[in-house]
């Protein structure tokens, strides 16, 4: 734990963490200092001047809180008339050249200018002269659209491309009120994290081409989840809305702060995986190319199990620990061989040293924990002599060539339980829809051995059965997620001391030893 210092805010003693600036230190105990340009991940720039505070004794009369460290005994003034007037004056100046086009601005509802106007300003406009005109619709590339007139020149976006991605595509050109954020000629935003500037922008100057004009922020339900685009497991908000007479639709993913995993950011590719949750979903069961009632399909599969000479169950590295364990137990029930073969989910060389990982699956670490074999040789050995292959969410087309698949199909019946339509769902003779992760709960372990839990965010008008339930209907022993969790805690040594039902939102870091420690 960091050292604590005692200081006074508006005469009241508060205890805060030392080594932090006043915005963070005092903010942590619930006292807000308004700021636009400061962002914890981007450091203090000190250009917006909204965080000016008074410090009594021996200091200049006004200091920017973002650049002032909390020090023992410091007397910070926030509520004096002088400071309130400064905040009001700065807000007035922020707004004189702002278009105030909130009705058509995507940021409306989550805009710092709106919030601060209500909280710190509230005066009528005194502008009787024309505002500065700037460019309204600039395609910066990478799906980012910029409105220079809305921009408050806080330079968060500029600092992001300089400090975080180190690509430096953005800069502020010109002086005075002609200053504007722009790209260099012929050099658009071209990094894999560019859409973070949309989140970073405290106003509506940076918008996402994908999201803009689709939804008002206040209609969106913001559900906490974990991105499954790769093995990093970036913490996200799933912003979704069920409009009247419509289904529950996801409109965007946004990064959610977790210093242990992803910090404040996520990659653009992961951000766009929300589309998979809406579109191209496997919605109905099919047997031999015909749409079938889900119960009939389950019945057909049960029969196939009992008739099969040798069954192989293949589980996806995207499955949660609960799903993996349920499938593992089902394999034991039917005396089937279990494989986690999924080499095609790994895209070697695609990862970077920031967030993006080579492994495009969310829970490969679960294989080690649950002792699930996932090598190609193991898979081929399992396949030998088999006449039934049941894949649980594992798109084997990613890992196998067409020739290999054709060869398997000659002797083996393919069954696929999946949330998504993909190539494997096209060739499987039985397909069964299961809930996607945005509709299900689960526990996963990321590439850094951090155990995380996500909850169901979306409730569809016609809910799809979750995988645990389908496995139960197929003869599996677990009736609910809770039962699996209890079993996991009891049987997996590494999880013995962890209350899986109450994993903190920042996750639990497991040691390497714990993750590779196989249950007895």
């Amino acid at each position: 734990m960091a050292e604590k210092v005692k200081l006074f805010v508006n005469g009241q003693e508060v205890e805060v963490e030392s080594g932090k600036n006043l915005i963070d230190a005092i903010g942590a105990v619930g006292i807000e200092i308004p700021h636009l340009c400061y962002h914890p991940a981007l450091g203090a720039d000190g250009n917006c001047r909204m965080c000016l505070v008074g410090i009594e004794d021996g200091r200049p009369p006004l200091v920017p809180a973002c650049k002032t460290m909390a020090v023992e005994g410091m007397k910070v003034q926030l509520d004096t008339e002088k400071i309130k007037k400064i905040q009001r004056d700065i807000m007035e100046l922020e707004l004189i050249n702002h278009p105030i086009d909130c009705p058509i601005c995507d940021q409306a509802g989550e805009c710092k200018l709106q919030d601060y106007y209500m909280q710190y300003d509230g005066q009528k406009s005194r502008m009787t002269v024309p505002p500065v005109a700037k460019a309204k619709h600039m395609d910066f590339g990478a799906g980012v659209v910029h409105d220079q007139e809305r921009c408050v020149l806080c330079a968060r976006c500029v600092r992001f491309t300089r400090l975080i991605t180190k690509t430096g595509e953005l800069g502020i050109v010109n002086r005075t009120d002609a200053a504007r954020v722009t790209t260099f000629p012929g050099r658009p935003l071209a990094n894999r994290y560019a859409l973070n500037v949309v989140d970073l922008c405290p106003v509506g100057a940076m918008t996402s081409k994908d999201f803009r004009f689709k939804q008002r922020a206040w209609f969106l339900t913001k559900s906490e989840s974990v991105c499954q685009g790769c093995s990093k497991g970036c913490n996200i908000y799933i912003d979704h809305n069920k409009e009247k007479y419509q289904d529950d639709i996801i409109y965007r993913f946004r990064p959610r702060l977790n210093q242990q995993v992803n910090g404040y950011f996520m990659c653009d590719a992961g951000r766009m995986t929300y589309k998979l949750e809406n579109e191209n979903r496997l919605n109905s069961a099919q047997v031999a190319g015909k749409e079938t009632n889900i119960n009939d399909a389950i019945e057909t599969l049960r029969r196939a199990f009992s008739q099969a000479k040798k069954s192989v169950l293949v589980v996806s590295p995207n499955c949660s620990l609960e799903q993996m364990l349920a499938v593992k137990k089902l394999a034991a029930t039917y005396n089937a061989v279990l494989s986690g073969y999924s080499d095609g989910y790994i895209n070697i060389g695609d990862g970077d040293d920031f967030l993006i990982q080579d492994d495009k699956s969310a829970n490969r670490a679960g294989f080690a924990l649950l002792d699930i074999e996932s090598s190609k040789s193991g898979f081929e050995a399992a396949l030998a002599g088999s006449d039934l292959l049941v894949s649980f969410q594992n798109d084997l087309c990613r890992s196998l060539t067409d020739a290999e698949l054709t060869k398997i199909q000659e002797t083996t019946k393919l069954v696929y339980l999946s949330s998504y339509k993909d190539r494997f769902s096209e060739i499987a003779s039985i397909t069964l829809p299961v809930a996607a992760y945005s509709e299900d709960t689960g526990t996963i372990i990321n590439t850094d051995n951090i155990l995380q839990r996500y909850g169901a965010a979306v409730i569809k008008n016609v809910p799809t059965l979750n995988l645990i339930r389908v496995v139960n209907l197929l003869g599996g022993e677990f009736k609910s997620h809770e039962e699996v969790l209890t079993d996991l805690s009891a049987t997996i040594a590494a999880l013995n001391n962890i209350d899986l039902k109450h994993i903190p939102s920042e996750g639990i870091a497991l040691t390497d030893k714990e993750v590779s420690n196989v249950a007895a």
């Binding site: 203090a44 007035e92 100046l93 004189i96 002086r175 005075t176 009120d177 200053a179």
Partner: protein, 423 residues
């Protein structure tokens, strides 16, 4: 009234050439300087009472002593030759007429502060001056006063001339450092101050050309000789640039402490015949204006200026007579500072543009009394809320004109805008 301390060689033909300069005493202090300890040089400069000639008037020797002790990083000297404040034209004379005086000053300063690399930041528009300066530096290198060994001593000193790109704000010392480092000229937040963390993150002293050029005299003749000029708290001499509506505008070297009205009358030839004094800008466009009444007991030194709620500034005196339209003067003033705002801080970036539009509205004849009040209020709302003092350099004088000449602004909003107003 005029004296010849800094300008001693200004009128000697070819004094910008090293042979002529040397014949007339240039570089003659170096032997003495190198025989002293650096701390002794600093002490001597402190004793002389020399104050920074860039405008702020901070004691030069004291500034040097802020360098961190037990420092292991290189120390830099940056000579501020940006001279961009409107009505200021003193340093250019040094650069062209006696550049070796400044180079000698740089050697003295660098020895005192332990610096081996000095940068001269010169405003981009000074094309003649930069040529003269570079020629002098080349001569000094050739003559062995700069380079691997200064004047035969075991002391390396390299001087680099860095030309600005035309931004007033680069005269602000940290914007100047940003510009030397190759970035957009924007002031840095302080602390840290440059003496601790300046150029390339290293301790840096930034001095004005005239401050540096004053050093050879002080080292040659001693602090007492320097203090013989000027007042107790404002010792020495200053190159004053007197402009505006006087008969003999020009650059004059004067001891500090002289009555401003006497200087205007006796040195600058007084006002044109039949004209009345309306106001005086005492030290560059950013200093609050003085009315003739206020100027009665105003003397050219830091204390008197402060007592009159204005500033000594850069010594650029502008004399305004009764033909001057204060409202249009203010429009010009705001136009300049708006144009030169670096655009970093919200109040300055947005506020000066707003002020410019309001004053233009008033000049156009579309203004109201409320606009005058708003202009006045904006001065308070913007001032001292920013990283640097550029915004204050605009609001301080504008406030003074609005307070002291309000009737002229009111005449614009009440009646025919084209009419000139008399005192």
């Amino acid at each position: 009234m005029q004296v010849k301390v800094l300008s001693a060689r200004f009128d000697i033909p070819d004094a910008h050439k090293i042979e002529v300069a040397k014949e007339n005493g240039a570089y003659s202090t170096l032997e003495k300087v190198f025989s002293m300890q650096p701390v002794e040089v600093i002490e001597l400069v402190k004793q002389s009472g020399l104050r920074g000639r860039g405008g702020a008037g901070f004691p030069t020797g004291l500034k040097w002593s802020f360098l961190p002790k037990n420092n292991t990083k290189p120390v830099y000297l940056a000579v501020n030759s940006d001279e961009s404040e409107p009505a200021t034209f003193k340093d250019r004379y040094i650069l062209v007429r006696d550049p070796h005086m400044m180079i000698e000053g740089i050697i003295i300063c660098c020895y005192a502060i332990g610096s081996h690399d000095a940068y001269i930041y010169i405003r981009g528009e000074y094309t003649t001056q930069v040529k003269a300066l570079q020629a002098a530096i080349d001569e000094a290198y050739a003559a062995g006063y700069l380079g691997a060994s200064v004047d035969g001593k075991e002391y390396r000193l390299d001087v680099t001339v860095h030309r600005g790109a035309g931004a007033y704000v680069c005269g602000e010392e940290t914007a100047l450092l940003e510009s030397i480092e190759g970035r957009k000229g924007q002031p840095r937040s302080k602390p840290p101050f440059p003496a601790v963390e300046g150029l390339y993150g290293c301790p840096t002293i930034i001095n004005n050309v005239q401050s540096i050029a004053s050093l050879p005299f002080i080292l040659t003749n001693g602090p007492d000789a320097y203090k013989a000029y000027g007042t107790e708290k404002s010792p020495g001499t200053h190159l004053f640039g007197i402009s505006g509506l006087v008969n003999k505008p020009g650059m004059y070297e004067l001891p500090l402490g002289l009555p401003i009205l006497e200087v205007i009358e006796k040195v600058a030839g007084g006002l044109r015949e039949g004209r009345k004094l309306k106001g005086i800008i005492p030290g560059g466009s950013s200093t609050p204006v003085q009315t003739p009444e206020e100027a009665q007991d105003l003397t050219l030194d830091y204390e008197s200026m402060a007592a009159h709620k204005t500033m000594f500034g850069s010594g650029g005196i502008v004399v305004l007579d009764d033909t001057v339209d204060i409202v249009k003067l203010v429009e010009n003033l705001i136009h300049f500072y708006h144009h030169e705002s670096c655009g970093q801080c919200t109040p300055c970036r947005e506020g000066l543009g707003w002020m410019l539009k309001i004053i233009k509205k008033i000049v156009r004849g579309d203004g109201t009394t409320a606009d005058i009040d708003l202009l006045r209020e904006l001065c308070d709302n913007i001032e001292m809320k920013t990283v640097c003092v550029l915004s204050a350099a605009c609001t301080m004088p504008v406030r003074s004109y609005l307070n002291k000449f309000r009737h002229e602004f009111e005449a614009y909003v009440k009646s025919d805008a084209s009419c000139q107003t008399a005192m």
